[in-house]
Symmetry: C2
Subunit: 363 residues, 2 copies
C-alpha cells in the first residue's frame, strides 16, 4: 500500500486481518437475538455463507416465529423465545450471541449471554444511553467474555484501504473529514410509524443514533482518533419524528484541530460518503455506508485523481468472520466496548450541544 | 429544464440571462483597478475576448507598471496610477470600474468611481468588514451608479443549471448543503509571506474571506435563501497564518432548518465541491470553484444517478458579459451590494461564533 496506488487494485478486498485460515478454526456457533428484516435479509444469510460461523439458534418473541425462522435457516438451527433464552434453553448450542434487538434491549440479552459465558457481538449503537452502554461493557469484562460492537465499516475492505492510505501519509496531515448518511426511512425501509426506531425509549435517539453513527464512527476509524468536542443541530419535519431526531447536522472536533462535518437524515434522499482531506491529498469512499452497493475509493494527490470501483462484498460476512477469527485466535477485537462507548458519549454530547446552542466537550 | 435531465445536455452552457445579443449593446469600457496575477491572467484576457467589454484603462501603483501592462493589452488601453485615477485622469475612457485590489482598498476606489458616475464591478468579499461594505453600497446608491459584487459562480453555467434543477424541484425539499474549497495558497498561488491575503488590515479575514465565501455564497445562490445563524471554528497551523485564519469549518443555518456545512483551507489539498441533498434527490457540482476545470454536474433522483461533464467556460468572460448586458439593458444585477453585505455579516458572525464557541445569529 505504501504510497503507491496499484496494489490497491490487486488487493482491494483482501482480509488483511486474516492471519489464520478460517477452515482451521473451531466453528463459532451464534445465537441470533432479534429477528427483523435485517436479521432475515442480512445476518442469517451471512452466517449461512460463512466458513467458520453457523447460525445455530434463533431467538425471538414467540415460539411459532422462532421455529418458523429457524426452519428457514440452513442446517439444524433451533428457534427459542426471549424467555427461553434467559432461562438457558439451548445454551449448549451456541458459542456467541449476535444481539440485533432494539437498542434499549441490548443490555438484558448481553447480561444473560455473559452469565452463560458466551461471547458477544452487539449491534451499534451499544445501548440507548451511555450509562447502559458502560454497564454492558462492564458486564462482559466481569464475565470474561469477549465483546465486539458491530461496526461493519471496520471490516468493509474499501474503508480499510482508505484507512491504510491515510495511515501511509497519502493525504499528508489530515485537515477535515466530511461524511453523510441519509435515507428515506419511512419510504424505503419501513413505513410502520410504530417501529422502534421512532421510540426514544427503545432507540435512545433518532437519525443520529441510527445512521449519524456511521460518519461519526468512520471518521474516528479513518483518523484513528477520538472526538474532543462536538456541536450540532437536530430537526424533524415529519410527524413520525416528533420524539426522535429525523435529521442531524453535526461537527466533531478531533485532536490537532481536525474537524469532521457530518449529516444524517431519515428524510433525505439516500446518500452516503466519507472524505478525508489533508495537506497533500484526499481520500474518500462514495457511496460508503449502505450495503450491496459498489463502492468507489477516491484518491487525489499531486496532480492526479484516481477512482477505484470496488465490487460490493457481503459486509455482514466480513464482520462475522472477523469476529470469529479474532475470538478463536485470541486477537484483539476492534471495536471493543470502550470504543463503542466513546460514540455514545459523543452522540449524547451532540444532543446537549443542540440544546445549549454551543460546543460541548466529549467525556 | 423542468424535471427532465436531457435538456441539461443540450443547453448546459446557455446564457439564460442574455436577452439581448451582445453585439447590439453599447460597449462597456472598463478601468481595471489593481494588477496582480488574477488581473493579468484572468481579467484582462476575458475583457479582451468579450464582444461587449473592453479593457480601456489599467490602474496600478506606478506609471511604469501601468504603461507596461496597458501596452500588453489588445487595443488602446491606457495605463494610469492610483493617484491619477483619483484625480480623474482618463475618466472619459471608461464606463465602469472593475475593482480587484486588496479587500480593504475597495471602498476608496469605489468612492472615486461613484464620484465620476462610473458603474462598479467589485471583487468579493466587498470590503474588509461589514461597516465599510455598507458604506460602499451606500456610496454607489447615492451616486446612482450600478454596483455588482463579482461572484463568478452566479454566471458559471454548471452552477446556474444546478440552481434551476433545485428550483424545479429535482431534489424535493432541500435538506442540507455541503461545500468545500481548499488549496495550498503558499505552494500553488503565491509563496510570498508578505502578500496582502495574510494581512488582516488589508484582507479582513483569511481562508474564510478569501475562499470560504465560495461555499457560503454558492449555498445561498443554490437555495435562493439567506443565512439565519452560523457556527464555526478557525485554526492555523502554518506560521504565515498567524494573523488570519488558514482553515475554517463552519455551518450555516438557512430558513426551514436547512444547514450548510462548509470547509475552506489555504493549507489543504485542492478540493472544491458543493452538493444540495433534499428529500427526493441530490444535485452537486464537483469540482466547483476553481477556474479552468471541467466541472461535473451530478444529479441523483429516484433510482438514478447522472453525471454531466461540462467543458470549462471562461468564468470571467461570463461575468463581465453579464454585468455589461444587465447594465446596458437595465436589468437587475445579481449580486447587488445588499447581497454582498449579507456575506460580510455572515462571515463576521462565523468569527464571533468561533470566539464564543456557540451559534451566532446573522444580522
Amino acid at each position: 500500500m505504501r504510497e503507491r496506488l496499484h496494489p490497491v487494485l490487486d488487493g482491494v478486498c483482501e482480509r488483511d486481518w486474516e492471519t489464520e485460515p478460517l477452515e482451521r478454526l473451531e466453528p463459532m456457533r451464534f445465537a441470533v437475538i432479534g429477528v427483523g428484516w435485517f436479521t432475515r435479509g442480512r445476518a442469517l444469510p451471512a452466517l449461512e455463507a460463512s466458513e467458520v460461523c453457523e447460525p445455530s439458534v434463533v431467538v425471538t418473541s414467540s415460539e411459532a416465529k422462532a421455529e418458523r425462522v429457524a426452519s428457514e435457516v440452513d442446517g439444524d438451527a433451533r428457534g427459542i423465545t426471549y424467555d427461553q433464552f434467559h432461562e438457558g434453553v439451548a445454551a449448549d448450542a451456541y458459542d456467541a450471541v449476535y444481539v440485533v434487538t432494539p437498542n434499549a434491549l441490548h443490555l438484558e440479552y448481553v447480561e444473560t449471554a455473559a452469565d452463560f459465558g458466551k461471547h458477544v457481538l452487539c449491534e451499534k449503537p451499544m445501548e440507548r444511553d451511555s450509562a447502559r452502554a458502560a454497564t454492558l461493557r462492564e458486564t462482559c469484562a466481569d464475565a470474561g467474555v469477549e465483546l465486539m460492537v458491530a461496526y461493519r465499516m471496520h471490516t468493509e475492505p474499501t474503508v480499510r484501504r482508505a484507512r491504510e492510505l491515510i495511515e501511509a501519509g497519502v493525504v499528508g496531515e489530515p485537515m477535515e473529514v466530511r461524511g453523510t448518511m441519509s435515507q428515506r426511512l419511512l419510504d424505503r425501509i419501513n413505513a410502520d410509524p410504530d417501529q422502534w426506531r421512532l421510540d426514544p425509549e427503545l432507540a435512545g435517539g433518532g437519525a443520529l443514533f441510527d445512521i449519524g453513527l456511521y460518519p461519526l464512527n468512520t471518521a474516528r476509524f479513518l483518523l484513528d482518533a477520538d472526538p474532543v468536542a462536538v456541536t450540532g443541530r437536530t430537526r424533524s419535519s415529519h410527524d413520525a419524528f416528533d420524539e426522535v431526531d429525523e435529521t442531524v447536522s453535526f461537527t466533531v472536533e478531533f485532536p490537532d484541530d481536525v474537524y469532521a462535518s457530518c449529516f444524517a437524515s431519515h428524510n433525505a434522499r439516500q446518500s452516503s460518503c466519507i472524505y478525508v482531506t489533508g495537506t497533500e491529498g484526499r481520500v474518500g469512499v462514495e457511496p460508503a455506508f449502505f450495503q450491496d452497493q459498489q463502492r468507489t475509493l477516491r484518491v487525489s494527490r499531486g496532480g492526479g485523481r484516481a477512482s477505484v470501483d470496488v465490487t460490493a462484498v457481503d459486509q455482514m460476512l466480513e464482520e462475522f468472520d472477523y469476529f470469529a477469527h479474532q475470538v478463536r485466535t485470541g486477537g484483539p477485537l476492534y471495536a471493543d466496548g470502550s470504543h463503542g462507548l466513546v460514540d455514545m458519549h459523543a452522540m449524547e454530547a451532540v444532543y446537549e450541544a443542540d440544546e445549549r446552542g454551543r460546543w460541548v466537550d466529549v467525556e
